[in-house]
Symmetry: D2
């Protein structure tokens, strides 16, 4: 299903080469000042154009078609659509016969008996993340100014020195290849008490949405996998005052599924872009044999760059849901 959330419910639709992609956001409290311009900054962060991103330029302007009256949210569903301008009708038969490795081309065909829209990845397209970014903007409005986000690429191709990122990406591009990366998001100012033990733990909700973002293959909170290598005496966070502040934050802001007021720290492992320019040898279902495949077009060398704002957006969505439940 393409909707998520009980109190902050987000519904997305669209295909890469269809008429539009869109998002409807329900559960938004009435009275929040909001206009189309408010979306431009985060949408810009998602845009192609920087180093390691595609040169496809598309109109990502957010058209609000419901839920706003006189510059404020009304309590009714807030719906935002993005026109697909840069679509080309072309011959996608080859893509059906010769599915791209590590893309959803083949599983989608199997799942939907060949009725899926294959053009440009169809409903799997990264363009659908426009709706997630938009929902993230609305989520941040709900969270208010007290909560601030800091999201960074902390690793690319295994390198943690950010000054070398550009070079690593350029080397991958030269090699007609791609690279993965790690995105870290910190959110400051979260109240104590959001989330629950077990199924509705704060980690569960956040991770659920993180793994909804294409290319995310790992998620960790606080020290995450590193904590599995620690002893308890190293990993425990001592409470040091009557406000519940802790001397350290190995937990990443969540204990027992519940926020403890410390910074939320989340990291996502982003796999290297599956589309690479170099020739790959994979099965051609029409010809019934393994054959070389060259994927045409321009692709993001490092999708982690554009994924960062999407990761931040879905974390904001999860936090808005948690806040509205609390």
């Amino acid at each position: 299903m393409n909707s998520w959330g009980d109190k902050f419910r987000v519904t997305i639709w669209g295909e890469s080469h269809g008429t539009q992609v869109g998002v409807s956001i329900d559960g938004v409290p009435a009275g929040i000042a909001l206009q189309e311009e408010d979306f431009l900054s985060d949408l810009g962060r998602r845009k192609a154009g920087g180093a390691g991103t595609t040169t496809r330029t598309e109109s990502d302007y957010p058209h609000i078609v419901s839920g706003i009256y006189e510059g404020h949210t009304t309590g009714a569903p807030l719906t935002i659509v993005f026109e697909n301008e840069n679509t080309r009708s072309g011959d996608y038969r080859n893509l059906v016969a010769h599915p791209r490795p590590s893309h959803a081309d083949w599983v989608a065909q199997r799942k939907w008996n060949g009725y899926n829209d294959p053009r440009g990845g169809g409903h799997f397209s990264g363009r659908l993340t426009l709706g997630l970014v938009a929902a993230g903007v609305v989520a941040k409005k709900i969270l208010g100014d007290e909560i601030t986000f800091s999201t960074n690429i902390i690793e690319i191709g295994g390198e943690q020195d950010s000054q070398k990122f550009e070079q690593i990406i350029e080397q991958a591009r030269m090699a007609q290849d791609s690279v993965g990366g790690v995105v870290e998001c910190r959110a400051t100012g979260i109240e104590v008490g959001w989330g629950e033990p077990f199924f509705d733990s704060a980690e569960s909700l956040i991770a659920h949405l993180m793994f909804s973002v294409p290319a995310v293959k790992g998620v960790e909170f606080g020290d995450g996998f590193a904590s599995s290598r620690m002893r308890g005496s190293q990993n425990n966070d001592m409470i040091i005052d009557s406000e519940g502040h802790t001397s350290t934050n190995h937990a990443g802001g969540i204990v027992g599924g519940i926020t403890n007021g410390s910074d939320l720290i989340v990291r996502a492992a982003i796999k290297p872009t599956a589309s690479i320019s170099q020739e790959q040898v994979t099965f051609n279902f029409e010809h019934g044999q393994v054959e070389p495949l060259v994927i045409k077009g321009r692709h993001d060398v490092c999708i982690a760059l554009r994924a960062a704002v999407v990761v931040e957006a879905v974390i904001a969505m999860a936090l808005a849901e948690l806040k509205l439940r609390a």
Copy 2:
């Protein structure tokens, strides 16, 4: 909320020192042969007693109180309860005043205004995972014999050589400390086509439940965080035959949120047990100052040992949900 799932809905309840813990499982197809003995093997894997686990012995016998008729599931909710025998009424006031570091004691008090049951962690107790393990057993029945699970501790305290695990645990125990670990679960025999892009991706559902398991702080699929350090040419899985088999399985069996027929590979980072025997210095809310705290009783040195079957159980739960949706 303490329930999860649309088609395979699991509801849990209970407290560490209450009358019972239980689980009700709805959506189980009628006609599955099932009896109480079927639960004993997995419940035994969760039991304390091995190296690195507590010596508390408790009756973990599963009493089926609804949903079975003449040895088969009926289509009505299957409810299983476990009596709490080893409870002691004692003075828990100290625990309220002096909350244990990296436990939910303090956040629970804040969230529920002091009305939470503090005894033995109350509703946060690991005893609640009895219900998860039981639900996992039922989930496996739904998945059938074609799907097999192999779950292992692949790392303890940073060490990957399993022959050294016992020694590492013993050293931690000697140091009145605890250690974390990594659990890996592989599931073989999964059909192509379970899961969806975005919110209902197979990874989202599985990760959601994985982070419901106490002590899990990281989750990754396939190469996970390692894939973020690869190039696309290294990470891509080439399709090699008409059945969609791939030459490699970096993806861990899920592409675009959808299972591709390869083995599902999931890893969970388990933090070191928060309860350690050595003295910790943390805030005493009654006295208004930081004070030494000694946690009494026996605790698991390495909770990862007992968590393994719980991790496997929730993966089975997620897969049962995905199968019933497909």
Copy 3:
């Protein structure tokens, strides 16, 4: 599925002749004073024993097995179980072969391929409404003292003069027959603003639960079916003061799906008990022909009498859900 509610989530289980029936109630705010005695009054109203009800005496004592600590709700699931004492193992094969008219016997067999528990109606048993009544008691605690319920049988067998009810029931009993009735519930003190237009209208939530009560075949709000015979000038409720009070209450307290502060007025049509003592001629699936059937045992002549408190309970459940959402 056997659970309902997003914020006030009720899960029920059990069979007529199983070990127990039970209910787990999630989303109950912490700090509500609650003990087993609080349930006895409403459970007593549901009990058999009055005119027109069965003579089966059963222990309906509510055992709280989770969610209470020191006499107050904890915020964790509140679970209540009822032992089934008056069960008899007997020969139910006849019931399978010769399903009772207007009971679920046959559809249940078809739906669950014969694996359903047929004993005493199995999971369809009216005993399951014990859990609903218990949930209703908890719901009323959440609603608080400001909201009061008045629930009455306003019609039996088409007769509206309550002084004749006993006689009508006695006549039906003499005829080895049963009679239907109409239950009306009024709830006073509801705030303005609960519910939403369309899918989550207050009427939708209430009616959803009303039709979950066995034997309910019609539901109406305010003037209901009578309003369909009116003109707008007769049916409209004029606002008469700054508090939004209306001169009349044809709407039954809900406008546009939202409560308007007037009394909630709901009526349920209860069909006559399907089990009657007189001989019925219906199909015997074993013999492959229509044959006389005599249903043994004692049955409620007018189930509307016992349904009244169940109707009130589910209305309270819906209102608690609406209040917690607001």
Copy 4:
């Protein structure tokens, strides 16, 4: 929330005087032939223009903006939008100060602190039912040709002779008034076994959606309220053959919450249109006193006429959900 359904999930948005109203339908199986023309017949039945309906002419053309590829559904969300052409920006301040009786004007203001869109009823507008009718068309495609619907106005203003309907409406129009009516829908060809006891009874799902339709104030199945006046011997439906056919259909096709293969029979009581031309005396919040109010514009004298197809649509929606769950 403005979405409904687990397997057939419908999300609606829009306002009377906004840019558009729309609907996104998720869970539609792939491979169903569908085009915009398929919607025109049912949308036409909803259209104003017949006797007793408004003369407002609006473009109700359904633009499919996602979920279709080469004339078939893809398995991705199917989204349909309708442009709002006939909107007028005007002075709605009067409507805010002087809310219309038996409309949602006042409760909406209270609920959303005055931030609701008041123009033409805003999000409460009957225009939102365009999305319901569209969803109903898709639902019928899922149900297939075996299931047929027959929906009729069986009563207007208390009159059951359909030949007098036109006259009754004309008399009401002359009196600057409106009239209510009763819609009956019969669906033939439904399989045995859809629905469940208790919360997910077929009646619960259908009634939930019926009460989502504006102006519906009562819902009954089979003999409904009439069955409450019967004896069991009159109301019971005897099974007469091995296919489970019954000699009568007092139950309206549902027993124990489960469809039994007989025709589904549902009736909805539609209240008279709240907007009437004659002067009404109601509270003016700006002036702080009761004052005469004249509602301008043209209104449906008998909204039951246009509601019929909406009632049929939501029944189809509920049945599609039930079928996809089965």
